[in-house]
């Protein structure tokens, strides 16, 4: 990506967003949307070009659609004046993000994103919106604040200086890359190593392999460790069959554990401390939410003592009994 072109695309996006933030109606709104989308499209085309990939790939098309959907929904989150609609558009951002996760091979995280964000966090937002509802009337929100964006020019300038800076980092992503062969070898070795820790899965795969190659899949036993092939694409396990003959069971890349299995393994073997810490964070958040949500009661000191089952002090002190008056 060439920085001046990148900045130009970012600037077009910025102008489009600025115009949309001023709550235009009719043709002006249409024009601003087209301008913003054009800037976005240019930015994405530059991104795909900069990756140096040739030819058409349906995954790239779907990913571009997901990115465009996420961006459009995100813009609606910040331009709509009704918080309920903002929350619903945010669900759309989450769904588009989950599509992007899926295409990039993070299946487990895609679905947990939908469950946790669209399922749990957004419901909490909806509850709070209902709890803190202002007296609404039939023809729209009656609130006087937040009808228009405050200082949209300064905010957009700030945001898009950030976008330009971030996209320079993004364009460096390719130059910082290790050679693909080296990366693949490392990733394969890591995957087979993870599989070494899952003897039951290895057993299942060997049974399947024996059945597929016409050998007796019952009564065999392992005769050695899993050995990774030179290129890392396959691995061999020596086994002793039921009739006493030796056999080298060959496991292929398709036999490797699926994404959620590997992710769970990585989580508990490489990051056990962080996992515990995450639990502590959630517990603390729960306690904090309970403390925050407690209804504030106006009780005098003496009444509190009575409520706690302690004898009253019978001190007629104005400071202690003041709240009862």
């Amino acid at each position: 990506m060439i920085p001046p072109l990148l900045f130009a695309a970012s600037a077009i996006c910025a102008v489009g967003l600025f115009l949309l933030l001023r709550q235009p109606t009719g043709k002006a709104r249409f024009g601003a949307t087209i301008l913003g989308l054009a800037g976005l499209a240019w930015l994405l085309v530059q991104g795909v070009q900069a990756s140096g990939a040739l030819g058409f790939d349906p995954r790239v098309a779907i990913m571009s659609l997901a990115v465009a959907m996420a961006t459009a929904a995100a813009v609606r989150v910040i331009t709509t004046t009704r918080p309920v609609f903002a929350a619903l558009y945010f669900v759309l951002v989450v769904v588009a993000g989950a599509v992007a996760y899926l295409i990039m091979g993070a299946e487990f995280m895609a679905f947990s994103l939908i469950i946790v964000y669209a399922g749990a966090i957004l419901i909490t937002y909806m509850f709070v919106l209902m709890l803190a509802q202002q007296a609404a009337d039939a023809d729209g929100p009656s609130v006087a604040y937040d009808r228009v964006a405050r200082e949209p020019a300064a905010a957009v300038l700030c945001g898009f200086v950030l976008l330009a800076a971030l996209s320079i980092v993004v364009s460096d992503a390719r130059t910082n890359q290790l050679p693909t062969a080296k990366l693949e070898a490392r990733a394969n070795a890591a995957a087979w190593n993870r599989m070494r820790g899952m003897p039951e899965l290895v057993q299942e795969r060997i049974t399947a392999e024996l059945a597929a190659t016409g050998k007796d899949p019952i009564g065999w036993s392992r005769a050695g460790e899993l050995v990774i092939a030179q290129d890392g694409r396959t691995a061999m396990v020596p086994v002793t069959l039921a009739d006493g003959s030796r056999h080298e069971a060959v496991l292929k890349a398709a036999d490797l554990p699926v994404n959620s299995t590997s992710l769970g393994w990585e989580l508990v073997t490489s990051y056990p401390g962080s996992l515990e810490l995450a639990g502590v964070i959630l517990l603390m958040a729960m306690l904090g939410a309970v403390v925050l949500a407690r209804r504030q009661t106006d009780m005098a000191e003496d009444d509190r003592r009575a409520a706690a089952g302690l004898p009253r002090t019978n001190i007629e002190d104005a400071d202690l009994a003041g709240d009862r008056a």
Binding site: L17, L21, L43, A53, L54, V60, M63, A66, V67, T71, A74, V77, I78, P83, A86, A87, F90, V93, G97, A100, Y101, M104, A106, M109, S112, V116, Y117, I121, T124, Y125, V128, L131, A132, V143, Y145, D146, A149, P152, A155, G159, L162, L163, L166, S167, V169, V170, A173, T175, Q177, L183, A190, S262, L263, S270, A278, I281, A285, A289, L292, A293
Partner: protein, 112 residues
Amino acid sequence: MNPIDPQLPPGDPLVMLGLLASAILFAVGIVGFLSRRNMITMFLCTELMFQGAGLAMISYGRQHMDLSGQVFVIFILTVAAAEAALALGLVVLLYRRKETLSAEAWKELAES
């Protein structure tokens, strides 16, 4: 900063798109946080920024063919859930005090 270097192996266009999307989501989140005055919308904008961060993690994880990126998204989700619970508790508390969700109502907290 060199533009397109033919010496390099072709990168993954999905990674590039993911990183761009994460940058855009983060920038839009910042713009929303600065320009909106409804406290709930402001917190939604921080969630947008969390989304951007998560997408960047997944993209870099794919680029390096490593699972650590995905593991970190789990922690991002954890922190986002904790943040949502606490922030929304605070919003309800602030709403009870002033009967409005506007951040302008708490102007006196600013220094000048």
